[in-house]
């Protein structure tokens, strides 16, 4: 199994690693049983723009790299645009992932969605197409 240079770059030098105190939206997905937990923090301004994004991840190289890339991609976007940060978008931005690691990119998308859901819940907002997150990798990926 080999990672692309971009995946290795985001793994070795992760962007946005850390946490945001009193974040506007926090999402945690995955479970330790499967070896992947992703937690994403979003700082969202009053116009619904993602001012900052941070992550913490327990997982493999691909899990760290997809968290790093997903947070990069949502920064500066409106919450509606953040919905476009799909697993496919994350994967493409990383020049692909080995087939056994595709679920990591799904997890990154789920983590973003979970954080956006949290933001909506806290602020009584709605984002089109956003569904309640499933906080269990087993259900997500069987």
């Amino acid at each position: 199994m080999e990672y692309s240079a971009k995946v290795m770059d985001h793994f070795m030098n992760p962007r946005n690693m850390g946490q945001i105190e009193d974040a506007d939206g926090v999402g945690t997905v995955g479970n330790a049983k499967c070896g992947d937990i992703m937690k994403i923090y979003l700082d969202i301004d009053e116009n619904g723009i993602v001012r900052d994004a941070k992550f913490k991840t327990f997982g493999c190289g691909a899990a760290v790299a997809t968290s790093s890339m997903a947070t990069e991609l949502v920064k500066g976007k409106s919450v509606d645009e953040a919905m476009d940060v799909t697993n496919k978008a994350v994967m493409e931005a990383l020049d692909g992932l080995p087939p056994v690691k595709v679920h990591c990119s799904c997890l990154a998308e789920e983590a973003i969605h979970a954080a956006l859901w949290d933001y909506c819940e806290k602020n009584g907002k709605k984002i089109e197409g956003l569904k309640k997150p499933v906080n269990d990798i087993d259900e997500l990926h069987g």
């Binding site: 690693m17 499967c34 070896g35 937690k39 913490k56 327990f58 493999c60 190289g61 691909a62 990798i137």
Partner: protein, 394 residues
Amino acid sequence: MKTIYFDNAATTPVRKEVLTEIMPYFSDIYANASSVYDIAAQSRKAVEKAREQVAKAIGAQKDEIYFTAGGSESDNWAIKGTADALSKKGKHIITTQIEHHAVLHTCEFLEKHGWDITYLPVDKYGLISPEDLKNAIRADTVLISVMFANNEIGTIEPIAEIGKIARENGIYFHTDAVQAVGHVKIDVNEMNIDMLSMSGHKLGAPKGVGVLYIRKGITISNLIHGGGQEKGKRAGTENTAGIVGMGKAIELAAAEIDETSKYLTMLRERVIKGITENIDFCRLNGHREKRLPGNVNISFEFIEGESLLLLLNSKGICASSGSACTSGSLDPSHVLLAIGLEHEKAHGSLRITLSKENTAEEVDYLIKELIPIVKRLREMSPLYEDYLKGGKAV
């Protein structure tokens, strides 16, 4: 950057002395060992010399040694060969939960064909209980297969005791000794071993050669059908170079076993001490004493193994892990789960396997690099964050 190789249970380089010995058998002494002309006799003689070298190393007779293409083939042959030969007597096999996949998946294959397999559990150190074994024996049990030493956690099973139980009950006893040969003293007679698998590339011989020892009087069916090589028991033109390498490597290993074992144990203790004294929230997996001299397996809480390996690799260090991500599945090592580790801790395991080429300086370098790597991954881990917030260690 210098490469530091700490994955000797995965494979080893071919030893220089072995390489010198096998070189002529590729293009100078190339004749098929089964042919009648003079130059074939040279190949034949080389194969028979290797057979003697292997036999001597485990206290066997020369004609009880059969060359195969590796450890997996030997395991497959011992189990499927016994199953086929003895199916009229019974269709029950006893093995353990911590076997190598070459044994486990072979047993699962037999299950599909109507066999009943008992997978003995192990204690927290990875040891099976001879009492459990006795209780598992049935009238229709035809084979007991228990590994000599575990490839992941290094635990050495009570082989002599198991052999005695098997013998008393008239049941064939096979042991996968791939990790033990050359590291632990083995006597197939003292230990009542009926069949024993070994692999060349784990002890400085080339890849693609292995051995199945079959005690005289034990009847098993063939696995590889074809020509009459290996007294008609294992078809296929002899891998002369590989076989010569196997013989030389095992002869060297057997001659050096005390010295190597002492040296590796010293290095092993240095690794264990260095890690456990400098890093919090970690535990040694496997038995403290009943373990392979060159094996260290440690779980680090809150972090995942593949990330650990990638960061070690960036420092030139080659090691392995029982995490799911390194196996390409969602489940971590079956061995670590069998000794009772929670999934989280099994995902965060690191295996260091030493050889006599490793040095104390390399071990110190490993410890020095490992400390900040574990710290870095913990800072990245939401599990560690939860723990610091007043949760408990998982």
